[in-house]
Amino acid sequence: MRQFSYLRPTGISDAVAALAAEPTAQLLAGGTNLVDLMKYDVAQPSAVIDINGLPLKEIEVLEDGAYRIGALTTNSQVAYDPRIARDVPLLSSAILAGASPQLRNAATSGGNLLQRTRCYYFYDPSTPCNKREPGSGCSAIGGINRIHAILGASEACIATHPSDMCVALAALDATVEVTGPTGARTIPFPDFHRLPGDHPERDNTLQRGEIVTGIRVEGGRFAAHHSYLKLRDRLSYAFALVSVAAALDLDGDTILDARVALGGVAHKPWRNPLAEAELAGQPATRDTFEAFARRLLSGAKGQGHNDFKIPMAEKAIVRALMQAASGRPQVQSEKRLR
């Protein structure tokens, strides 16, 4: 591994100053992704800023009843928090669908947002990759692309965002709280991650020196009708080929409000708010969900090896919405689909 200097700031402003001062520095929280990327020589930080001493480890209830999840809370801490499990079960379920218990014990909420793609070419410095080395080309286009994007890809990059947690946060319209050299601001979740376009090296819209401090998410509303359905090559401890976070607000069998986000299919969690809005007032039936699934997947394009993801996603969207409507969400320890 390359040499780097090691800093351990104890305050947010110190951490921001250190990050702003050294553009090639990187933040270290749980380390589950950064340490791995450094071993592969994909990440080459000149300095590692260990932020584990920052006071961002709490889950707070805000005055409006929403939750503020500190950036340094661990995935396990959030998933098993009794308040989150009760009021935001979709988030809890999505977190427990990802990684392994050991990784969830170390990985943080902020780190989950900032993790890099698991595209195998991104991880292999001997191959061209526009995300790792801008301008070098994309090896996945025309290469092995079974795990790659079917929506929102560009000619420069067809990588997917690997998170499960972020798919739930996207569906729940979470807000990301950040602090930078000019102060604090909030970023609506759909604006936090970006599509690759001509700059796949940029995963998100953070500005230089900005640190994620927390995530704000509303509770209660979709607790009765939700499901996180994750389809993958093995039944646990694998990244999603396709995942669906579905949340419904129902009046009897009539849809009042619907949110659906897809994972494993794009450079960011994929939503279509216009299609969701059209679900309001419709009956919560298979026909309704099938029409919605086709709409959400409009424009989907396979790369060859991943063509199967399009019909798989269509069926998964319908299945997850049926699970949500019936109040029987997928349970992550249960290996049969509900």
Binding site: A21, G31, V35, Y237
Partner: protein
Amino acid sequence: MDLGQPRAPSPTVPVTLTINGTNHSLDIPPFVTLLDLLRGNLALTGTKKGCDHGQCGACTVLVDGVRINSCLKFAVSLDGTEITTIEGLGTPDHLHPLQKAFVEHDAYQCGYCTPGQICSAAGLLSEGHAKSREEIRELMSGNLCRCGAYTNIADAIEDVMGAEGRETVREAAE
């Protein structure tokens, strides 16, 4: 603010760790993982290096009682913590209940993944989220066993969960 000398790579960082009940004051380069510190610097070779990328669980240890992959932690980031490895769980004369159960249930063939399996199972038991065999299997999925001893590993863990636990497990399975 005091951030030391950030521009030049600092050769070593002072760290205090309690490992299996013994205090260690160490000066270590920041790139040393907890796994390499344990096996290389401290000769605690019970903890195994499998994939070295957080994909196999062979390096699982307990940090402040919580199971993690020691290959993905820079040791300098764990200053002040208490670490328990397989050497700290039991001794040949006084086996930990999980070690005893693994022997009784023949929960291994080659044994390479076993220290990680047992440390992981110790973490699972203290977390208390597994209530059924299905949940034991899901919450042990971070530990791979290439010999395929999974059935006996699950049996051993179920055994330690206790008679009361076994009843619950059986009911849930029916």
